[in-house]
């Protein structure tokens, strides 16, 4: 049975042998060796102080999400959240083709937020990350603080902010919502990479300047984010086709609305803009599916992973960290910090705001009860 969950499902069941019988070659061929993580940082990637600080922030975020979903969790949302977690976990095991057999896989933070709402979505992905560290040895136990922050909280709330923002201008049709979800998926991955870079600014464990880390992280993750965005959009679109009532981020969906053409141009425009940014920012090969590792390799900062000192203070050797151009670095840090803060902050604010068309601010609304009225589909 061991290793079944590492399957990408490409080969029929009979290919497997029983207990723990996973041949190394087959694991590599099936891409099974990565159990799911693209950004699961190992122990000691950032300094102990940063690990503690991000741990406090993550615990606070989870606590807030627990408060917001308390009523829902008291009843129906527990099994639903658990199964959504299983879906995100399984979704991370699907290898999506990118080019010539290279595959990427879903991170799922924004997708979970769009499907079950930002509070529950953040909670579910946080549970996935913790379980992956605890049971599957994916990501260090001492790295949970920043792993939860970067993979659950920032994507869920940043993605939610982008979704709400794009939905203001996009039509409330299935396509419009799918596009908004896709852009949320793209943005969530980029925001997460920015968040990691900012943590690097404060908790670097190697003399690699912040601006280079930021450029590398954002560059690689923009490419990863394009895949994430396409998958997120398509999955949301597929769910909307059969159970639109399940998508919390699709409130006010107009099924009878006209099929808009304009959205296509919008998608192409956004795609081209993203590609230009990606090309400009990065000269890094992204053929390694593990973005964080690719960047680490690129910048050689992973060679210092773990060599952090309990004694090293936050700013003690900041100046000697080889900051090529301090002003550029500071400006970049400011821009990245503003972007992350703005997105996550407005995501939190938007998530906390009562929605007009959904009645009072009842967190229970984030989960559709079984048997609740489903919107009728014309011609379904």
């Amino acid at each position: 049975m061991a290793g079944r969950v590492f399957d990408d499902g490409r080969f029929p069941v009979h290919v497997r042998r029983g207990h723990a019988g996973i041949g190394l070659l087959r694991m590599i061929r099936n891409n099974r060796i990565r159990s799911g993580g693209s950004m699961h940082a190992p122990d000691g990637f950032l300094t102990a102080g940063t690990a503690v600080a991000t741990g406090v922030v993550s615990a606070g975020g989870i606590g807030l999400a627990l408060r917001r979903t308390r009523e829902a969790l008291a009843d129906r949302a527990v099994p639903l959240a658990g199964l959504t977690g299983a879906f995100v976990f399984a979704g991370q095991m699907v290898n999506f083709p990118i080019a010539a057999g290279t595959t990427g896989h879903l991170l799922g933070g924004a997708l979970a937020a769009v499907l079950v709402g930002p509070w529950l979505g953040a909670l579910v992905v946080a549970v996935v990350v913790v379980v992956q560290a605890l049971l599957f040895a994916d990501g260090g136990l001492t790295a949970l603080g920043y792993n939860v922050l970067n993979m659950a909280l920032v994507p869920a709330f940043g993605g939610w902010a982008i979704l709400r923002l794009v939905r203001r201008i996009a039509p409330a049709t299935r396509r419009g919502i799918a596009v908004a979800a896709g852009l949320a998926g793209l943005g969530s991955v980029v925001l997460a990479s920015m968040a990691f870079s900012l943590e690097w600014l404060f908790g670097a464990s190697a003399p690699v300047p912040f601006d280079r880390v930021l450029a590398a992280m954002v560059g690689v993750h923009t490419l990863i984010g394009i895949g994430e965005g396409i998958i997120t959009g398509l999955v949301v679109s597929a769910v909307l086709a059969s159970r639109p009532d399940l998508v919390v981020g699709a409130d006010g969906l107009d099924l009878a609305g006209p099929r808009t053409r304009g959205i296509g141009r919008f998608v192409v425009g956004a795609g081209v803009a993203t590609l230009v940014v990606a090309a400009g920012v990065s000269q890094f090969a992204a053929d390694d599916p593990d973005g964080l590792q690719a960047v680490a390799e690129e910048q050689g900062f992973a060679d210092r992973a773990g060599d952090h000192g309990l004694s090293s203070s936050v700013f003690a050797d900041y100046a000697t960290r080889g900051v090529a151009d301090e002003r550029v670095s500071l400006a970049l840090a400011g821009v990245a910090g503003a972007a992350v803060t703005l997105a996550v902050g407005s995501g939190l604010a938007l998530a906390a705001r009562p929605r007009r068309d959904r009645g009072p601010d009842d967190p229970g609304d984030d989960v559709v009860a079984p048997g609740e009225a489903r919107p009728s589909r014309p011609g379904a």
């Binding site: 499902g9 190992p42 008291a74 009843d75 199964l83 998958i231 597929a238 769910v239 590792q293 773990g306």
Partner: protein, 254 residues
């Protein structure tokens, strides 16, 4: 497989490690991981001692070597990456024939390999000797919010089922000739993933209804730890040794 009692990474047994109170085991593992993360790169002897410690745990748990070895294969990319580090690091200061590498990078690379291998092995011991209900009870005893424990519990119970559902969908798609290699071929996969979400969610709805039919009151029944605490001093000593090794490694000049 006894649903809910075991999980794919678990090995049945009755060793001291198996019978340890789960919250003690989790704390010991976290302590070990902390020690591992704070050992300086060049303290190879500390890594050796920590390796000895985790080997003691594996032996005490009576885990089959083959099981640990196959499970530990997940670290192959990190060990390979560690082996690559000396060559991709800046400041090459050593050479042998056509090869040149950075000494600092070599130390750092070896530390990455050590940390990932030993950290994963400790996690394998934890997962391999603790049934899911006991692990979740341990987390609850460590004051992890009950809602989180409940979500994790449902997730782990249904993960295998969802993964199998996914595998069936993929097998059916493969049987129909779907073998995507390029990004523009991924719509069927995404559609299948959407269908998987709907199926999973609807399963959750059915589970919820079934729970209500059985008198679900809105709170999970307490996950009771009914076994006596065994070997707690041993586990404390084990984690303390790891901590001492880490402290010694930091204090001693390398």
């Amino acid at each position: 497989m006894g649903a809910g009692h075991s999980h794919p990474l678990h090995v049945h047994g009755h060793s001291v490690v198996h019978r340890l109170a789960p919250h003690v085991k989790v704390l010991a593992t976290v302590g070990y991981a902390l020690a591992l993360a704070t050992v300086p790169d060049r303290a190879w002897w500390a890594f050796l001692l920590l390796a000895l410690l985790v080997t003691t745990a594996v032996v005490a748990a009576g885990l089959p070597v083959r099981f640990v070895a196959t499970r530990a294969l997940v670290v192959v990319p990190f060990v390979a990456f560690g082996a690559l580090v000396p060559f991709v690091s800046s400041g090459h200061d050593a050479a042998w024939g056509p090869l040149s590498w950075s000494t600092a990078g070599a130390w750092a690379g070896s530390a990455i390999a050590w940390r990932s291998l030993l950290g994963v092995t400790a996690s394998i011991v934890l997962a391999g000797t603790t049934e899911l209900p006991r692990l979740l009870a341990g987390l609850e005893r460590l004051h992890v919010p009950p809602a989180l424990v409940a979500i994790a519990s449902f997730m782990l119970r249904y993960l295998e089922i969802v993964a199998q559902e996914l595998a069936r969908m993929r097998a059916a798609m493969t049987a129909r000739g779907h073998d995507p290699r390029w990004a523009w071929q991924l719509r069927p996969l995404a559609t299948a993933s959407g269908a998987l979400f709907v199926r999973t969610y609807e399963r959750g709805e059915r589970v919820h209804l079934a729970m209500q039919a059985r008198g679900w009151s809105g709170a999970m029944p307490p996950l009771r730890e009914d076994q006596p605490d065994v070997g707690t001093p041993l586990a404390v000593a084990w984690a303390a040794t790891a901590a001492l090794v880490a402290i010694a490694a930091r204090v001693m000049p390398s």
